[in-house]
């Protein structure tokens, strides 16, 4: 098993050799995923594991993708999307151009969910969605918009609970075991790599969604990311977080007001 000291060695290598900084990630999850990969790929020793990460670019890609969590769902927490529909989109509708940032979007299921919600509010045509993640491979999958057909039943239920009024299956075509989502939905989406740890603000938005990403970061890193979001958000813009995340303890938190009990905060100044 890879122990704490060895995890430190790997994280140090990642930073020195490849420029990826994972030192401020929550350690227990990271350690668990590193050990999972170590077993999955059947390394005979830590030394060989380390060597491969240091020297093989292809394996580095796999390593980064496997130690970060890329699990996501469409219309996760349907109540959140219901609030977007009823309270946030009517405000965004007043802008001539709506700019939205999905930070840490993984394979993009939530981006497609947002595109559907925008389309149903007749706003997609004047929206731009920036979908970013640290892993180029998962973004590639997001661009393709092909998700497992086995998930559609759950997603359809979520969609209906979120206030969806159409036939969910009208948004994709099923083939073999996959559901390919309508190209029109991604016509306003820009997929790009962005590392929340090291990359800067790149635009100003009216809505930033970052759900179930900050739970993997320690307090200092969370605070840095909130500052990055703050720099990237217009006054009176919104930030949406995961169901167990909060802005309450961040240093920019006092500038924000939470919407009822939802995980949505509005920038007041």
């Amino acid at each position: 098993m890879v122990n704490d000291e060895e995890v430190d060695i790997l994280l140090n290598d990642l930073f020195e050799v490849h420029g990826y900084d994972f030192t401020d990630y929550s350690r227990a999850s990271l350690k668990r995923r590193i050990n999972r990969l170590f077993e999955l790929d059947r390394f005979p020793s830590f030394a060989e594991f380390r060597y491969k990460i240091r020297s093989q670019q292809d394996y580095l890609k796999r390593f980064v993708e496997e130690i970060t969590v890329n699990v996501t769902e469409m219309f996760r927490d349907p109540g959140f999307y219901k609030t977007l529909r009823t309270q946030i989109l009517p405000v965004l509708a007043t802008y001539p151009l709506i700019r939205i940032w999905h930070a840490g979007c993984s394979t993009g299921e939530e981006v497609y969910s947002m595109a559907i919600v925008l389309k149903e509010a007749n706003l997609l045509h004047k929206s731009l969605l920036y979908a970013t993640d640290i892993n180029p491979n998962v973004l590639q999958r997001g661009m393709e918009g092909i998700f497992p057909l086995s998930q559609m039943k759950q997603y359809s239920e979520n969609y209906i609970q979120s206030g969806g009024i159409n036939e969910f299956s009208s948004y994709y075509s099923a083939k073999y075991n996959s559901a390919k989502f309508d190209e029109q939905l991604r016509s306003k989406v820009i997929f790009a790599t962005h590392n929340l740890v090291s990359d800067r603000s790149f635009n100003e938005f009216q809505l930033i969604l970052c759900r179930n990403v900050l739970i993997y970061f320690d307090k200092d890193l969370q605070d840095n990311v909130f500052s990055l979001f703050d720099q990237s958000l217009e006054t009176l813009g919104f930030i949406g977080l995961g169901s167990k995340e909060t802005m309450r303890f961040s240093s920019v938190g006092t500038k924000y007001r939470q919407l009822d009990k939802e995980k949505i905060w509005r920038k007041m100044s």
Binding site: D4, S26, R27, A28, S29, K31, R32, R33, V69, V71, D77, N212, I215, Y216, K219, G242, S243, K244, E245
Partner: protein, 196 residues
């Protein structure tokens, strides 16, 4: 061998809700260690479980938040649809990664990370269930010198989960459902929490 109990983790699945309620109703109020409860359930967000458990005891019961520091005498419930992990600095963290044993939260994940941090001062208790979750976690607890406890399968509403553990891991104590509260309270009785 002496084990100090600095953390108790309880893992339950089908048929364990009532036992957990009973444990909480009978817990001493001067408990000297924190308790984490990982209970399998449907994935939708529910605060009902925390309310239900709160009504059973005067000890503070809360749904675990990330970065919560484990306080003695406090009871933490793993939130629906997240794995709950224990960090080196004795705080908690959450993880929305793949299900383990078809479960999120997974009992294995919490048992393993608790064993990793607390070593021979953790006690892990596995209750009734139809899953094979918990067994791998108990292996690691045993491996690190922690205390492994299982509800006796004959007193479990669904015997499969405790039975799996008993057949795969060396279990320190196999206890009838009715005796579990008394057993746990015993951790706080002994001087320095020493046990065995």
């Amino acid at each position: 061998m002496t084990t100090n109990c600095n953390l108790l983790v309880i893992g339950g699945s089908a048929g364990s809700l009532e036992i957990i309620s009973n444990i909480l109703s009978n817990l001493k109020t001067d408990l000297r260690f924190p308790v984490i409860i990982v209970l399998h359930r449907k994935s939708h967000v529910d605060s009902i479980l925390t309310d239900l458990f709160s009504s059973k005891t005067t000890l503070p019961v809360k749904e675990a938040d990330e970065k919560d520091f484990l306080e003695a005498g406090c009871i933490y419930i793993a939130p629906a649809d997240y794995h709950l992990l224990v960090e080196n600095d004795r705080t908690l963290s959450l993880d929305f990664s793949e299900k383990v044993n078809f479960s999120r939260p997974s009992i294995d994940v919490t048992f393993q990370t608790a064993a990793d941090v607390f070593g021979n001062t953790v006690a892990c208790l596995l209750l009734s269930g139809a899953s094979s979750d918990g067994t791998e976690g108990l292996k690691m607890v045993k491996n690190r010198g922690g205390l492994t406890i299982v509800q006796s399968p004959s007193t479990a509403e669904v015997a499969y989960m405790p039975q799996q553990a008993v057949s795969a891991v060396q279990i320190d104590f196999i206890i009838d459902a009715a005796d579990i509260p008394k057993f746990i309270n015993g951790f706080s009785d002994v001087p320095n929490n020493s046990l065995k």
